[in-house]
């Protein structure tokens, strides 16, 4: 299985500032995903990040607000820009990892709990 770590694990930020979240995987993976989990809500996909190409954003999410980098096959960052209290959420990184047989499975990081004041 893939082991995923995220930094920071939690942070409290002031509105108008930006925070960069790091996602590190212990093995090389092609596809990485960033999800948001707002308080009391389910997970919503922000974007898909493949190494060597621009991230693909889901409806309602834009690059200016959530720029993503994917410099290599084991690392990605998500920046939450110009934060407002509505950005208070848990942000999770996930990766696709070769599971049993020919199928892939998605593994999730522990998440970054962000509070914007």
């Amino acid at each position: 299985s893939a082991v995923i770590s995220q930094k920071p694990s939690r942070d409290i930020c002031q509105r108008g500032t930006s925070l960069t979240i790091q996602c590190q995987v212990d093995s090389q993976v092609t596809m990485m995903f960033w999800y948001r989990q707002q308080p009391g809500q389910s997970l919503t996909l922000i974007a898909t990040a493949n190494q060597g190409s621009e991230a693909t954003y889901e409806s309602g999410f834009v690059i200016d607000k959530f720029p993503i980098s994917r410099p290599n096959l084991t690392f990605s960052t998500l920046t939450v820009s110009n934060m407002s209290p509505e950005d208070s959420s848990i942000y999770l990184c996930s990766v696709e990892w070769r599971g049993t047989g020919t199928s892939y499975e998605q593994y999730f990081g522990p998440g970054t709990r962000l509070t914007v004041t």
Binding site: I4, R98, T102, S103
Partner: protein, 120 residues
Amino acid sequence: AQSVTQLDSQVPVFEEAPVELRCNYSSSVSVYLFWYVQYPNQGLQLLLKYLSGSTLVKGINGFEAEFNKSQTSFHLRKPSVHISDTAEYFCAVSDMFPNAGGTSYGKLTFGQGTILTVHP
């Protein structure tokens, strides 16, 4: 577009009782179905998945789920729960597409989550 509905936001049960967490989905194409568990302050862990074949899928920790295409459901069950099963459970659907190394799942669409609380 795909969507997932988890019919119960909270399910309280007593230890050693059976439990069923309900999940219904809608999609215009064939889907692949998953259940994930999220323990407090942790990431998501895959419990089980349905890709094809037998409609009864067994997962980790004694959980199982049954795919019912006609009812578009994928309910999660466990015959006897433990205190340690207290967590939030998410049902999810995904496209699947082939890649060079094998079949790969696309993005996951999650349900709203069901909080299972097991009481002693």
